[in-house]
């Protein structure tokens, strides 16, 4: 167990910078998820912590020690790869014991460690099998077993669930969360799936184009996205973003179709100042006295929830998430009210306009 610090980490390939000056503090025992669209640099960042990529500038500290020039095997880390990367010619037990063998751990002690780790992951009956004889979920579990058997200071996960089907992914997600609770070890986890990030993390770092957009707990990230990128990236279905202008002396936002959303707090903008209005799908409510109007274009029934797709009067699409199954049909004209709790405002540069009381 150990804290990890990234200090002004930069990764440059010649003149091109893939990672720009990232600072990140990962507390001992935290579960930090690096999330972002593909190609944003999150995997590169993880591989720099692992020692698989060189660090162009800045420092990586694990347990207080600068690791920049320390080879991976001396960093006391373990990594789980997206494609498992098991050794196909070794049994499960041999896969798990490879690191111990290289570290010259006595055979009896190694066997004991393999046994206990296998028990944690439910692999006890599979120890003599070869990877080709295992299912996808079992293989991923072996990859995790190979990591925990070494009792490292930090676990690194590189999109470990991306190759699994949806049902298995949910199950393994739960298992990883339980593993973290059981071991209490610092974990750094890379994914492009914001649902994985929200459900697993104690802290999420949203990465975009090699920069950190925001670092916060899942709830805070959802409730206070610092900019439009985070607002769009976190939350499913996506937040509705509508361009607007300030009206009524800052007391309301006027959308392009002319409708006005009254704001419970005054805008720090002049009359007609540009802004973006973000509305969470669950903050849109069907109500006869609603400020917005539109026509239903599609209703997706998910069982407990329904996603209603609506075109506003100027054609702008929005998605509404309702509990249960509201009685709307395609083509219906509806009025929409906005719940201020799910209302977010952003200035023309995409930065959050803070609500009163927010720091």
């Amino acid at each position: 167990m150990a804290p990890v610090f990234l200090k002004s980490i930069t990764k440059a390939y010649g003149a091109f910078e893939a990672i720009h000056d990232i600072d990140l503090e990962i507390e001992d025992g935290a579960f930090v998820v690096l999330v972002g669209p593909s190609g944003c640099g999150k995997s590169t960042l993880l591989r720099m912590i692992a020692g698989l990529e060189t660090i162009s500038r800045g420092e990586v500290l694990i347990d207080g020690e600068v690791m920049n020039d320390v080879p991976p095997k001396h960093r006391d880390i373990a990594m789980v790869f997206q494609n498992y990367a098991l050794y196909p010619h070794m049994t499960v037990a041999e896969n798990m014991g490879f690191a111990l063998r290289l570290a010259k751990v006595p055979a009896a002690e190694a066997a004991e460690k393999i046994r206990t780790s296998a028990a944690v992951l439910g692999l006890t009956d599979l120890l003599d099998r070869y990877p080709r004889q295992l299912s996808g979920g079992q293989r991923q579990r072996v990859a995790m077993g190979r990591a925990i058997v070494r009792n490292p200071k930090v676990f690194l996960f590189d999109e470990p669930l991306s190759n699994l089907d949806a049902a298995l992914r949910m199950q393994m997600r739960v298992e990883i969360a339980e593993l973290h609770q059981k071991l209490g070890t610092t974990m750094i986890y890379v994914t492009h799936d914001q649902v994985e990030a929200m459900t697993l993390a104690t802290k999420i770092a949203v990465v975009n184009k090699g920069r950190l957009e925001q670092v916060a707990s899942p709830v805070r990230l959802y409730e206070r996205p610092q900019n439009l990128f985070v607002a769009r990236f976190i939350g499913s279905p996506q937040m509705n973003i509508l361009p607007a202008r300030a009206a009524d002396g800052g007391g309301a936002a006027r959308l392009l179709d002319g409708s006005r959303i009254a704001l419970p707090w005054p805008l720090p903008l002049g009359e007609d100042g540009e802004l973006s209005v973000g509305i969470r799908p669950e903050a849109l409510l069907i109500a006869d006295d609603g400020a917005l109007g539109g026509r239903v274009t599609l209703a997706e029934h998910l069982g407990g929830l329904t996603l209603v797709h609506i075109a506003l009067t100027d054609g702008a699409p929005v998605v509404l998430q309702a509990v249960g199954a509201p009685t709307v049909a395609v083509g219906d004209l509806v009025r929409l009210r906005v719940d201020p709790a799910g209302l977010h405002l952003f200035d023309p540069d995409g930065r959050r306009i803070a609500k009163p009381g927010e720091s």
């Binding site: 692992a50 020692g51 698989l52 080879p71 991976p72 095997k73 880390i77 373990a78 990594m79 790869f81 997206q82 494609n83 498992y84 990367a85 098991l86 050794y87 196909p88 010619h89 490879f98 690191a99 290289l102 570290a103 070869y130 990877p131 080709r132 004889q133 295992l134 996808g136 293989r139 190979r146 070494r150 190759n163």
Partner: protein
Amino acid sequence: MPSSWRAQLLITRIALYLASALIVVWSVAPFLWQLSTSFQEDRLLSSPTPSFLPWPGTLEHFRNIFVEKEFHLYIVNSAIVAGLTTLFCLAIGAAAAFALARLRVYYHFGILALILSVSMFPQIAIVAPLYLAASALGLMNTYTILVLIYLSLGLPLVIWVLFGYFQTIPREIDEAAIIDGAGPLRLMVSIILPMSLPGFVTTGLLAFIMAWNEFMFALAFTSGVERQTIPVGIANFTNLYYVPWGDLAAASVVVTLPLVLLVLAFQRWIIQGLTQGAVKE
């Protein structure tokens, strides 16, 4: 017309079988003819109407080559030369291919092209200079010179094939091993090589066959039965006045057998799917 596609299917199938049969006849017939020849008496071999079947049969040619022409000595020489060539080809080739495929080697494609270009030299052009070099070094009529030459002939192929094979192994396997604490040597011996066994068997066989069959260099650099290899030995059978077709056929059958046995023995290693289960494809 529901039957027309059935007729077409039948025609396709017949054509396929005919083509397969043609290929089998094309490749096996010469060998069968040779086999038949090796069991026929000289009298029949030179008769105006040759027979395909060795009847009446004789083992006289086999007796001739082993008892009178000491053919077993050539076989021993060939086995030593081809065996050593294969061993060194695989050891050096694996190390080179591993370094080129997996370590941070600058200009590795340039190096690969250079290696390939070496094998493009017309062999006849290097016989004379090599002959001078070998005699200056006192290596004439030794196993050493043959193994050295075959090594340089075989290595480009071995390196290229193994390089291609290593490249198919996912990088994450290396990275997992590196994090597990493996250095380059351990990575090669414990991970990459075991995963590449089919590539090894294939290239090993190719190197062995190349050294087993090579004639020109063997003829130029060896001068007695104590070092000459099989192809040179067989060439020695023929003299100015007489071509012993039966003996030639018998010798050819004897030397083809080890190759066939080798391929059969290693067949189970020349299989697909050894890497199955390592990663998600």
